[in-house]
């Protein structure tokens, strides 16, 4: 090119703004022009014509044509979200300005909704830097899901330098601690997602204090446990997203609150809430679940087991009557009874610990030791044998839940003795091990033995048989267990086996959960509400049950006591039907 055609003086052009509307400027970016002039002056280097064309075609293909189309779907050919998930994503993107509480019931795919929203913002170039805060046990699952389902290159936070990546998944507990805290708080995030956000409902916790300090453009809070029952907590959560949406604290109290748990102007409150919170329920139309087939298997304890159970029950009753006893000791005493129903290993461990804790001259010591002696007589586990039978019969993958670590260990041994490949899963495992166990279960292992701590957040749609080796007392936790296998994506009907020893407290608990609450067959959307209502008056459901058990020394009184707890459920459902 002949230079003389062009002027040699390069004047760097600064970016300019031109008004195109009374309140809007058009910004011209001019860095390109200065670069072009430079190249003209030096006659190059010039790029290829074909590259130039390809670059423009790439832009045409990825152009964002409209404000409110869901563009991310075209980038996700193999992925078919459910209608309610799409609707939720659209509402958050188009009506809520990208700040919302996603409060679907367990198993409806809050993660998918959050993933869709994140992906859409990324595709539109509105989000580059995102932070996803989740419980430690869910970090890898989130990373995997974002990568495989959404093609989002998310990174699990492991080292300090991980914060430099664009999309980081980290545990809230790590992020809020130094030295991470400083890095995280110094970053402006285009989007922050907080999973299990009910952990943020108390204003005084370090979690909350940390969350308030975060700097963000868009924000999604995910929680399955509703917060509508405690209005203060609701207020706190919303103040993270949109301070003032419910008015200042004072206005909120006078407008909506009669009592801590009793709202007034409920319709109006619901109205305001619906502008910031989306809650899909299983009962809503269009969401299809497979059936739950529940079998309660009643088992007679062996004479040895029964005599241990009786001995422990006696001991518990005596202890409970003797001292002016506090509720936490009641709970641990009743736990003994529950443990006998699970395995001798479980109760043994607790008794030994109890023995160690009591002083050497305590009259308790010989009594405890007597019980330990009783354990020696037991040679087999009635439930374990039944479980084995079920597993052998169904000839498919089975997930077995137990409350106790010792039972878990025992079952691992027991199954391996019978040539059944079983792997454990529990809350205390580190992420890598949990992942490994999941992979084993997906692959060779037949049985996954999970303790309660492992119950949250793991997805096991590929398995449709579940054994409740023992039952938690809190219906919510039972529902969470079931939710692991009975969720969207489950194609088979789900078989639930409840192992229940007759003439023990287990029988009563199962009666409450199954007959009274109808927990296993009905999918109760408002379970969480009901439980909060029960707990509002008399302490946690576990505590109420423990007290009932101690009061009801004979089976008949106990049945009455437990029925009265069940009444709350029945009346709630009646109320609902009336509405």
């Amino acid at each position: 090119m002949n230079n003389s055609f062009y002027s040699n003086t390069v004047i760097n052009q600064p970016d300019v703004q031109k008004a195109i509307h009374p309140s809007l400027n058009l910004n011209f970016n001019r860095a390109w022009f200065n670069e072009l002039q430079q190249r003209i002056n030096q006659n190059g280097p010039w790029d290829q014509w074909s590259m130039y064309q390809l670059a423009l075609e790439a832009k045409q293909a990825t152009l964002i044509n409209s404000f409110d189309e869901l563009l991310c779907l075209r980038s996700l050919p193999g992925f078919e979200p459910m209608q309610h998930q799409l609707d939720t994503a659209k509402r958050v993107l188009h009506e809520m300005g990208g700040r919302a509480i996603l409060a679907d019931e367990v198993g409806l795919g809050k993660t998918i909704e959050a993933g869709l929203i994140l992906k859409e913002y990324i595709v539109r170039g509105l989000v580059k830097k995102a932070l996803i805060l989740v419980p430690a046990s869910l970090v890898l699952q989130w990373v995997r899901e974002l990568n495989t389902k959404f093609g989002i290159q998310a990174v699990a936070q492991r080292k300090s330098h991980s914060w430099g990546y664009d999309i980081v998944v980290a545990s809230l507990d790590t992020a809020k601690r130094e030295p991470h805290r400083e890095t995280v708080l110094a970053t402006d995030y285009d989007l922050i997602i907080i999973d299990e956000a009910h952990k943020l409902k108390n204003k005084k916790t370090t979690n909350y204090q940390f969350a308030v300090q975060l700097s963000k453009k868009y924000c999604l809070l995910l929680t399955a446990t509703p917060i509508q029952n405690d209005l203060d907590e609701l207020f706190n959560l919303i103040s993270l997203l949109k301070p003032g949406q419910l008015g200042a604290q004072g206005e909120f109290n006078s407008n909506y609150v009669v009592d801590k748990r009793l709202p007034k102007n409920e319709d109006q409150l619901q109205d305001v809430l619906s502008s910031i919170m989306i809650r899909n329920r299983r009962g809503d139309g269009g969401i299809h679940f497979t059936k739950r087939i529940v079998r309660n298997i009643n088992l007679q304890l062996s004479p040895e087991e029964q005599s241990l159970y009786d001995a422990v029950t006696n001991f518990v009753q005596q202890q409970a009557r003797q001292d002016g006893i506090d509720i936490s000791s009641i709970l641990s005493l009743v736990t003994l009874q529950r443990e006998v129903c699970s395995s001798r290993d479980a109760v043994f461990l607790t008794l030994v610990n109890m023995f160690k804790k009591t002083s050497e001259d305590s009259p308790l010591r010989p009594k405890i030791w007597e019980l330990v002696e009783c354990i020696r007589a037991i040679t087999s586990n009635t439930k374990a044998e039944k479980a084995l039978e079920i597993i052998e019969q169904c000839n498919d993958k089975v997930i077995l839940f137990t409350e106790y670590r010792a039972t878990q260990e025992y079952l691992l041994q027991f199954f391996s003795k019978h040539n059944i490949a079983a792997v454990p899963y529990r809350g205390g495992m580190n992420r890598g091990k949990k992942d490994w166990m999941m992979d084993l279960f997906r692959g060779k292992a037949r049985v996954l033995i999970a303790t309660e701590a492992g119950g949250e957040g793991i997805n096991l749609q590929f398995c449709n048989n579940m054994i409740n080796f023992d039952l938690p007392w809190n219906p919510m936790r039972v529902e969470q267990r079931i939710g692991r296998v009975h969720r969207l994506g489950q194609t088979q009907d789900v078989n639930i086996f409840n192992l229940c020893t007759v003439n023990t407290i287990e029988e009563h608990i199962l009666h409450l959960l199954h007959e009274k609450i109808n927990l296993f067959e009905l999918v109760i959307g408002e379970l969480d509400h009901i439980i909060e209502r029960i707990e509002a008056s008399n302490g946690s459901i576990e505590q109420q049950l423990a007290k009932a058990i101690l009061r009801g020394a004979d089976p008949h009184t106990l049945t009455n006591e437990i029925n009265s707890i069940g009444e709350v459920f029945t009346s709630y459902q009646q109320e609902k039907n009336l509405r």
Binding site: L24, W46, A55, D68, R74, Y218, A248
Partner: protein, 332 residues
Amino acid sequence: MRSTASVRCSHPTSRRKTYDRGVVMNTKQIYRYVQRYLDATQCTILDKSPHHIKVKLSPEADRELTNRPYYWSFIDRLNETPETMSFLFIFDEEKYKQLADTQALQEQQETIVAADKALERTLGIVAKPIMRVPQEILHFGSNRLQQLFQSTERNGSYVCLYEEPQQRALHPYASRPYTAWLAINYIVEFSCDRKREELHSLGISLVTGHCVENFHERLQNIRLSPRIPPNVHIAKNGISHNKALSIAEAHLERKLKGYSYDWAVEAQSRLAEELARLDSFYAPLLQQAEEEQKQEIAALQEKRKEEIRWQYEPRVTASVINCGIFHLDGID
């Protein structure tokens, strides 16, 4: 420039018809695109069918696509011959599988060859290690295609080209006049908490200052070369590059002034509403707070305000995807 509306068609191989995904590039178009990219970067095609391309990357493409800066800095420093990576790009997974199955027999024989080689190695005959060829499915939205897009953006920004004459000059001394054009491909972003984009391809004649739209479309029908053809002379520029720039910007400005900005007005009223809401939330807090807490609360309030502005403030930005000087036949 092809209008985006005309290329909007659904995925031909997709069996899913549940909802319109608005796919803008179908499998065939992606195939063509990748092939042109590989050609432009001088990669070696090892094997191909309508459903796949097996390719050994050129050093240039390897640097762009494989994300191995350490390897390349090592090669550069030691002046070694690089061993570039090979890829198997699959465009239609199902059809490729069918194809691969029919070729399975052939590949079995190849494994025997590989086994022979393994034997040779144990006998001390060292062959070059067999490089594993990663397989990738390139669909719209896949990370690899995204990477290709970004690579073209980096490497197709500034061009200087000449139109090739339709026919040879009749007379050796005859000379055709050419006009230099400044081509600018603008991308205009309209954004608040949501976003929309538009492409504007402008061409400004440096002879007359005349500005035309859809300039890229016009270029598509012309054969272009980086070299000035013989028997051609370039007309004297009547206007400076700076002048051309202001003509282009004025043109775009005039055009955008005619748009509706309801979305921006809405965003601004949302913003004002949110800011007022923040004040109503923090005012009583500030009133009740102790002196030493006040600063902290005020800082938090300011932070929240910043976030809201960041979220809702409407913006319109014109940036340039690429640009160039095009010397075209004739004076206009």
